[in-house]
């Protein structure tokens, strides 16, 4: 397994669990209020969905763009610029959080009145809304810091912060709701967000933490951040619009009795949110490789992501085809009149999950590579445009089954259309990643687990590769020497540990060697480092002889770049 693939695989569980935790967080207040305050409490919290969506949207508008730009700038070794984005993102997350809370405070009374709910529900919703304001101010920052720690390679802490938020929310909300009703539940949610922020602050004590403050930004960068974020957030906007259209159509065409089936269909489509974990796992690595202008390794990560995406989407589809009743029991559907139609609907709609999984992956990927427009068009087409165009047509031909069929088919059709467009634009060689052409031929990546035999083997291969590409004599030999000596130093510093490494030889702009390893963090490029062996002495002198060299801890790994 290559370095890139193994790192992607190590990020994947944390990213997937984080998405699951986020999914559960979205449900926790409804569950708590529903169980403690009854149906009135559940209805009051359900009225808050609009507020939750707004707060999530605000968080995403800062987070996605900043984390992609931060990792890409680190990939290009622009540390101050990367930290400039982090600084700007932090200011924006705090400012937008406060602004959101202020706006929510201002519109609370008229919006609740506009819902037209009963007096008891409205009163409870107003109480929840008021005490939710601190949480609304804090959540964008918690969301943002979690994603930035993740982009900086601290997947474990990022996951812990989600757990802290979920557990903090549940542990505090339950007694507070029992004591103070819906207001207590909202306070518990805010305390959960605060717990997440406290946990995430530990990342700044981590060795190799690259999140830092820099004035190296301009306020026009906010537009850049928002542009990238909007590409990613388009899936949420598209889904919200689809839900609105579906509800209106189903009620008008089949009546309210079909709404429970629609609820199951919506939840089945909603499972696809979990598939975002694949793109999230790929993002830190892919963005760094994109920043390095390394299409070979970018493709390697994305191929791994593609496989994971298909496995997740296909796996869940097969599960639901075999056991559609799982979805029914989640929403408590047991009426004999509804069960057969709901089971069939779940089976039909589950066919969309592999395509949706791919759509979500490429929605994020095209944002990584700066194709926000393509990302938005593909996603809107898959989650809104084609379904809305097809379900009235199919519905009039085959009734409700036609509606579910349209939802099952639309993402695959959208994916097919986008694939044709990408093939036309980038040709077969550029499909589906649309990376700049012409750099791959001069790039070569070697992967190894550090031990003397494999290190010497890669060193010899680097020498042979350079020789085959016209780089001869002292330069080729120095490159091979650098690879052997530097990796042997890393090997010696990590005695008893299994360390994976990746060596990239880039001949696009002169000769550049990139060494990456997941051993203990240290700076091998420091020519003044303490020397305790002949090898250390040689490496120290080599560093003096290679004037263009950089060490940068990136996504939690050592990364050393040398220009020879």
């Amino acid at each position: 397994m290559t370095f890139a693939t193994s790192k992607f695989n190590s990020f994947l569980p944390a990213a997937t669990f984080a998405m699951a935790a986020e999914f559960l967080m979205g449900l926790s207040d409804s569950i708590i209020c529903g169980h403690i305050l009854g149906e009135t409490g559940l209805s009051a919290v359900n009225l808050m969905q609009l507020v939750f969506e707004l707060v999530t949207f605000v968080g995403m508008m800062v987070t996605v763009g900043t984390s992609v730009l931060f990792a890409t700038e680190l990939g290009a070794l622009h540390v101050r610029r990367a930290q400039g984005y982090f600084t700007l993102g932090t200011i924006s997350a705090v400012a937008f959080g406060l602004l959101t809370a202020a706006v929510l405070a201002a519109v609370r009374t008229p919006v609740i009145a506009a819902f037209g709910a009963s007096q008891a529900v409205s009163s409870m919703a107003a109480s929840y809304w008021l005490w939710f304001l601190p949480a609304a101010a804090l959540q964008p920052l918690a969301f943002y810091l979690g994603a930035m720690c993740y982009a900086d390679g601290d997947a474990r802490l990022s996951f812990c912060s989600y757990l802290a938020q979920l557990l903090g929310n549940c542990l505090m909300s339950v007694p507070l709701t029992m004591a103070y009703g819906a207001a207590g539940c909202a306070v518990g949610t805010g305390l959960g967000s605060l717990a997440a922020i406290v946990v995430l602050l530990f990342h700044f004590r981590r060795k190799g933490c690259m999140l830092g403050w820099s004035r190296h930004f301009i306020f026009a960068d906010i537009l850049k951040i928002s542009g990238k974020s909007f590409g990613d957030a388009s899936k949420n906007i598209g889904k919200a619009a689809l839900m609105f259209a579906l509800n209106a159509y189903v009620i008008a065409k089949f009546g309210s009795e079909m709404l429970p089936v629609l609820a199951v269909v919506v939840m089945t489509i909603g499972i696809s949110e979990m598939f975002n974990g694949v793109a999230n796992a790929a993002q830190p690595l892919a963005s760094v490789y994109i920043g390095e202008k390394n299409p070979v390794l970018t493709k390697r990560v994305m191929h791994a992501a593609l496989v994971a995406s298909l496995v997740e989407g296909g796996g869940v589809m097969l599960l639901l085809l075999a056991f559609p009743g799982l979805m029914l029991s989640l929403v408590g559907i047991s009426s004999p009149a509804t069960v057969p139609e709901a089971r069939l609907a779940v089976r039909i709609v589950s066919a969309s999950l592999p395509s949706l999984s791919l759509v979500l992956l490429f929605n994020s990927y095209y944002v990584f590579i700066g194709r926000e427009r393509l990302s938005s068009i593909m996603t809107i087409l898959a989650v809104f445009g084609l379904p809305v165009a097809l379900f009235p047509l199919f519905g009039s031909c085959w009734g409700a089954h036609g509606v579910w069929g349209a939802l099952g088919l639309a993402p695959a059709l959208a994916l097919g259309l986008v694939a044709l467009y990408v093939l036309a634009r980038g040709g077969r060689s550029g499909f589906p990643f649309l990376l700049p052409k012409g750099r791959e031929a001069a790039l070569r990546a070697f992967d190894l687990e550090l031990d003397p035999v494999s290190i010497c083997g890669v060193s010899a291969s680097v020498g042979a590769h350079l020789g085959a590409n016209g780089v001869m004599g002292r330069r080729a030999s120095k490159a091979a020497l650098l690879v052997e000596e530097a990796l042997m130093v890393v090997h010696d510093r990590n005695s008893g540990r299994r360390v994976k490494a990746e060596v990239t030889v880039d001949l696009n702009d002169g000769l550049m060697i990139v060494l990456r390893d997941d051993g203990v963090i240290f700076n091998i490029t420091d020519a003044d480092a303490r020397v305790s062996s002949l090898r250390g002495y040689l490496v120290s002198n080599l560093m003096t002889a290679i004037p263009v060299r950089r060490n940068l801890t990136t996504t939690g790994f050592n990364r050393n770049v040398f220009k020879l």
Partner: protein, 86 residues
Amino acid sequence: MTIAVSGRVDTVTAPELEASLNFGDATCVVIDLAGVPYMSSAGLRLLLASHKKMLAKGGELQIANAQEAVREVLDITGFSGILNLV
């Protein structure tokens, strides 16, 4: 006594080379590096140890025909001033 070495001298091959070197009673040993395209610190350590061994018994070690790439390693480390390069 002249010993001709060929191939890469690296972390893996240097111990094998060291095990096969036997200077016997020779007081002047020439290590011919014409066939060595590459040498890492493991090879340097071997040359230094051999040099010290010869000095200890009042003899001399000479390094001959070092290729350009090997000579650069000797230069970078300053070994070219310690060893007798011919």
